[in-house]
Structure formats: structure tokens, C-alpha cells
Symmetry: D2
């Protein structure tokens, strides 16, 4: 499988998902996985809304963060988020289907930078950038 | 109440909390509120753990984000997060009681900067910085 | 010229450059301009090195910041940086020719997000993300 | 000197300054040094102004970045900036005396987080946060 990066990426995602109770509990779904890339989606449920009647940013962040985690863990090297930032660009409402697309921007040594765009339909609702660091060990 | 900033801050938090289904569903608790300041806590439940067997960063972020939201909404001016970043400094585990303390760093015109420190016991597990912008209207 | 975005972008850059004593003093050069895009270069001079014998991050930042400024001011709407971040990915040395390429990632209402990659030869030495806001008025 | 953290911090700053051609060329001055802390000042010269007739953000950043570098190098462990962000909060003009105060927020293992506030008189013109990493070796 080390010879087939796409198969490796898929296998890593399957292994990660099995343990990822958080992403499961938020009812995220993995739409696409490739080396350095992941697309996840999640529907905004009523209990994800905040005091202004719109989606709590924490859940938009959680979706982006999971997409980032799946993208940076496609090489069978256990990798953790070190630092993340998010810009909120549009309001999210109950019932919206959010799609987060994570792509690798840089990967040098044990460090990586990943950009995640979160969309609701055609509207970009958030831009996220995450910094990852390999923490040692394999996923499988 | 406009003459009593502390009472105003408390009343804003009560009004926010009543609508904030997300923070309620995550079983956060407000520990302290003052003008430009909020302390919230949350216990890490099993469904908040991720594929590495540790707390999913999205929930640590959500707690910090809620503390930030309560802190920046203590003036009865409806204020939203515009941008946030988080540094993860230590692992969070199931059962940990996380405490997020948000303090105002700057507030100029309609914009604010808030720093949030998240601790588990005496250990700082995350440092968060949020940028807020007043979006018009009052909370009450 | 409003009908020709490329000509508008060039004219904006010419107008900006004439007033931009800082970028001139640092001997930056504009390599390419297009709507939402700018490429600038600068050679690392001895007085840009720091206490570790390598390029002071402030000058790498300044190049990225200028590329960002030229890219977000290609629409003849006076636009200022509001917030920037930079990741340093590789060391810069005296004599290096740095090339910063700024591209627009989002532009909604008066706000924009621009990503700038700084290279020395084929090596990426920094990734920069800037947030801009229109401040009113035209450049020309 | 290892027994006297204040003396160590001063000696580190002296050693750093001697090599730091960039901070010298920008005519920065060190005002105060203590373990994990540094205060630097710089006057905004004509060649530091940009295309909007105000101080180019790159020089405000450079001052903050130098304050950060001096603060994180007060332990005689060679430490480099890994990532920085800056919020611009007020305009800087030719002739302004800028004062940057860097304080340590976290230092765990080889990593640190430093907050830098840049003021012009009583006005905060920028808030900066830097992440540092020890790169091995001593300063002296």
C-alpha cells in the first residue's frame, strides 16, 4: 500500500474514522479522501445554533478541523493539529449542509500547513488554516 | 442598568444563554461574567474524543469560542466573532474539566480582541485569540 | 478603464508605487499585477539580517505585506491591511532573491482574504495570509 | 549567571544585538529586558511610509518581531520565530515613536507564545502574537 498513495490515504481515513467518536457524534460524513486532501460534510442541527440564532462557530470549526485532521493523516504518520485559525465569512443556519474541503499547502519535514474552505451551497462561510506536526507512530 | 456595567454584563449573559442551544447542548456552565470577561467550563465527554483517543480540538475550540462570545457581548451590543485562532498546548482527555477564561485585550470602535486561556486543572491546554465586530442591535 | 480590469489593476499599482516610499526604500520590484494578484521581488541585503545571521523575519514579512497590499488595491478602492499572519518555513540568507506571490482567496463586501507565498528559488520560505478592508475612497 | 535570570537576560540581549544588523539599521533601541520580556522602540522615518501616506505595516511588524525575538531569547537558548500574527488597530505616521512591549504568555518544552503590544503614545496601534521554537545551541 505504501506504493499506492491513494489506497494508503483511504486506509488511513478508515482507521481514523473508526476511533473518531467526535466526528461520528456530529454526524459528519467523509466525501472524498486523497493524499493531503479530505472533503467532509455535516448538516447544522438545532443544537448547533447559538445565542444569535445562527450556527455556533465552534461546530463550523469542528467540521473544518476534522477535514484538516483527515487530510494531514493520509500518509500513515500520526499527525496532530498544532494551531488553527478560522475566518467566518457568512452566517450558517439550522439545516444548512456544510462541506469542508481541506487541501495541503505545504508539507516540510514533520510540519504541514493545510487550508480548509467551508461552503454552504455555493457560499463560502469560512476559511480555515491549520498547522500540523507529526507526533510519531503510524495509524495502522 | 446602563449605570451598572456588572449588572449589564450579567443580564447580557442570561439573555445570550437562553438562546444558546449549542453551549447548552455541550453542557457548558458559566462560572463568571464581568464587563469584557467570561469564564466557562465544560467536561470532556466520550463523544468529544477523536481518532487519536484524545479530545477533539473542535470541542476545546467551541468552549473557548463560547467564552469569547459571552465576554464580547457584555455591553448589550450584539457582537459576533469575525476571526479566531487557537494554539493547542496540551492533550485533553475524556473526563477532563476544562475551564476557559476570556479577557478583553482591546476594544476600539466596533472591533475587539479577546484572549482566552483554556486550562485543565493547572495545565494550560490551549491559548485562543478572537476578533469580534459589533453587528448592530442590542441583546435585550 | 473600469471596463478593463487588467488595465485598472496596472494603473492602481503605478499610483500606489509612486507614494510607497517604504517598498521603494527596500528596493522591491513589481513583477506582475492583475486583478486580485501581485508578484513582487526583493533581494536580502546585509542590513536585513538578524542576530542569528539569517534574514530578519520582518523583511520577509514586509515583502509579503507589500505584495498583499498591491493585490488588494487592484480595484481602485483604497484598501488597508487589517490583520496578517506569517509562517516561516525556511531560512533566508543574505543575497537571496525573494519572490512573493499574492493571490486573492476571498473578496466579499468590503473585506478580503489574500494568500501570499514567498519563495527563494524553488524553496517556499514563508506562507502569509492577510485580511483586508476597504477604507473608502479611490486610489486615482 | 545561570543563577541570575535577569543578568542572563541582559547578556543574551547584548549578544543578540551585536549581530542584529536589521534592528540596528532600523534604529531600534532596547528599553527594557527581563526573562521572557523585552521592550523596544523605534521612530517611524519617512522611508517607512507606504502608498496611503501612513506607516507601512511591515515596519510596525518588524519592531514587534524584534521585541518578540529579544524576549524569547532571554534564556540563552537559541530560539527562532515560527509563526506570527499582527492586528493593526491604529494608523502610524511619520515621526511617531513606536514602543513594542513583548511578554511571554506560555513556554512549554521548546515552544513559546509571546504577546507584543505596539503603542504610539497612549494609543495601541498593533497587537502581535508570536510562536517560537528553540532551534538548539546557546547564544553565548
Amino acid at each position: 500500500m505504501a506504493d499506492d498513495p491513494a489506497a494508503m490515504a483511504s486506509a488511513c481515513a478508515t482507521a481514523m474514522w473508526a476511533e473518531d467518536r467526535a466526528s461520528q457524534a456530529l454526524r459528519m460524513r467523509i466525501i472524498d479522501i486523497a493524499p493531503g486532501r479530505a472533503v467532509l460534510e455535516m448538516t447544522v442541527r438545532p443544537e448547533m445554533t447559538n445565542g444569535h440564532g445562527i450556527g455556533h462557530g465552534g461546530f463550523t470549526f469542528a467540521l473544518a478541523d476534522s477535514a484538516f485532521a483527515f487530510a494531514c493523516n493520509t500518509y500513515n504518520r500520526r499527525t496532530a493539529a498544532y494551531r488553527c485559525d478560522i475566518h467566518y465569512l457568512g452566517a450558517v443556519r439550522e439545516g444548512d449542509l456544510l462541506v469542508a474541503e481541506a487541501v495541503e499547502r505545504q508539507r516540510t519535514g514533520r510540519n504541514g500547513i493545510y487550508d480548509v474552505t467551508v461552503r454552504s451551497g455555493d457560499t463560502v462561510v469560512a476559511e480555515f488554516r491549520g498547522t500540523s506536526r507529526e507526533i510519531g507512530g503510524a495509524l495502522m
